[in-house]
């Protein structure tokens, strides 16, 4: 229970923390989260929902997407979250034929998302009339130095990203299979 409260505090900006020290040096070990979901719809249909970098409305936590550069590499977007924080992102790779894109977070407060140096790939793979969406993230924990406080640990970072991915993919499945 305490851990959950700490996670919520870290995510929703209640943590009374200020980060000091090295601006760029990251924690010692990069984390990886991979989540996927099967959707009862063809890959083209799924890609039509998630394949526009300038529209992140398929992510329930996102209130607004503003960006420039379309779906070209180096395109940027700013996500305003329903919780109030913002996340700035950049498109690194985009392949419409392969139904895949890669992006990175260029700016986010650890109070909004307790992570650093985040990059990610989203891929839709056709499986007959069905498809599988895979969301894969690489990131460091929120605390940039050795021996992190518990609320900015590897575990908290992993939990935040895992929860984001699983809840978003479940919502995506519901949205598409629900026919909306």
């Amino acid at each position: 229970m305490l851990k959950r409260l700490l996670i919520a505090a870290a995510i929703f900006g209640l943590a009374p923390l200020s980060l000091t020290g090295a601006a760029w040096a990251h924690g010692p070990s990069r984390q990886k989260v991979v989540e996927s979901i099967e959707i009862n719809a063809p890959a083209d249909k799924v890609w039509a929902v998630i394949g526009n970098f300038q529209d992140a409305s398929w992510i329930p936590a996102v209130a607004k997407t503003e960006g420039k550069g379309g779906n070209e590499p180096n395109a940027t977007r700013t996500l305003t979250l329903k919780s109030g924080g913002t996340v700035e992102e950049q498109l690194d790779k985009y392949d419409a034929a392969e139904h895949s894109f890669g992006y990175e977070i260029t700016k986010v407060d650890v109070k909004v998302l307790p992570i650093n140096d985040y990059s990610s790939h989203v891929t839709v793979t056709a499986n007959g009339d069905k498809s599988t969406v895979e969301w894969k993230g690489a990131f460091y924990r929120g605390y940039m130095l050795n021996d992190p406080p518990p609320e900015l640990s590897d575990e908290v970072a992993n939990k935040a990203i895992t929860d984001l991915y699983t809840s978003t993919l479940a919502a995506l499945k519901k949205k598409i299979e629900g026919g909306s």
Partner: protein, 300 residues
């Protein structure tokens, strides 16, 4: 100097960081033949001069781990403290050099006694480390100083520094010991350094977030971590030749001794890739443990 036919590489020693293991890959058949549990989130790797022993850094447990590369047994562990990551072995002496990126120093470990025998102050957050083939000079990519330190091995003193692009991470020295190449993760380029003159002789643009560099067949091969590509450049012209679509988060990269193949650890896809440095095609793939990094010289 008459060329001695280099032995063909047979195995890769790959650190699987999130899996807490080291994968051994038979490069003739591109198959994993052993997995060694080591703990500590292993990342960096170096091999002894006879390539019979592997030295692995574990940033989480702050250790140096010694592994018998033949029997796959973990032999000794040494707590170094700080955040050990980059590592290089001396070509002839029983010494390894470990970069501590929080303490801004290199740690010298005697590999016979397996104890710390010295420290060398360098720039901020040293990451990649490399030794010249003649064993005379040690170079570290000092990431947060945007510079390379050049160190005299015999006296363990820093002779000078050379400014690089932004945030150099991996560093590789050519076979002649003439040039060093750094992968600069923030400026998306490679800095080319004349080691003797301590000057920059060129710069090559790469894909997004270059991590490490291999040299083979007169070409350089750079892992573009975020781009998912390998940037290939000409070592003479210092100009890009091609960008190879590789995998999710390519990281450690090294050519075998004969420069027949280049091997890439794919952190995101959990595979070791084989690339033909002449045709620039991906010619093989071996599944390994979760999150392979292989940061250093990992081919025996």
């Amino acid at each position: 100097m008459p060329a001695i036919a280099p032995a063909v590489a047979h195995e890769a020693i790959v650190t699987d960081q999130p899996a807490d293991s080291v994968s051994v890959v038979d490069l003739d058949v591109m198959k994993e033949t052993g997995r060694i549990g080591v703990g500590g989130k292993p990342a960096g790797v170096a091999l002894s001069p006879d390539k019979a022993t592997a030295y692995v850094t574990a940033p989480d447990s702050k250790e140096l781990i010694e592994i018998d590369a033949v029997s796959h047994a973990v032999k000794r562990r040494l707590v170094l403290g700080g955040a050990p990551l980059g590592i290089a072995a001396h070509p002839t002496l029983p010494e390894v050099y470990v970069a501590d990126w929080y303490a801004h120093k290199l740690i010298v470990v005697d590999t016979v006694k397996f104890v710390v025998v010295g420290e060398i102050a360098v720039g901020l957050s040293p990451s990649g480390v490399a030794v010249t083939p003649d064993g005379r000079l040690l170079l570290s990519a000092d990431r947060d100083s945007d510079a390379v330190s050049i160190i005299d091995v015999a006296t363990r003193t820093r002779l000078g520094t050379v400014a690089t692009g932004s945030r150099p991470f991996g560093i590789t020295i050519d076979k002649a010991g003439a040039r060093a190449f750094t992968a600069n993760v923030k400026s998306d380029d490679v800095t080319v350094i004349d080691i003797a003159a301590r000057t920059v002789v060129g710069k090559v643009p790469t894909g997004r977030r270059p991590y490490a560099i291999a040299l083979a067949q007169g070409r350089g091969f750079v892992t573009d971590q975020y781009g998912g590509t390998i940037t290939v450049f000409d070592q003479g012209a210092l100009a890009p030749i091609k960008r190879i679509d590789a995998c999710d988060h390519p990281e450690g990269i090294e050519a075998d001794a004969s420069e027949t193949n280049v091997y890439v650890a794919c952190w995101g896809d959990d595979v070791l890739l084989r690339i033909d440095p002449l045709s620039l095609k991906v010619t093989g793939k071996a599944p390994v443990g979760n999150g392979p990094r292989a940061f250093g010289k990992f081919i025996r």
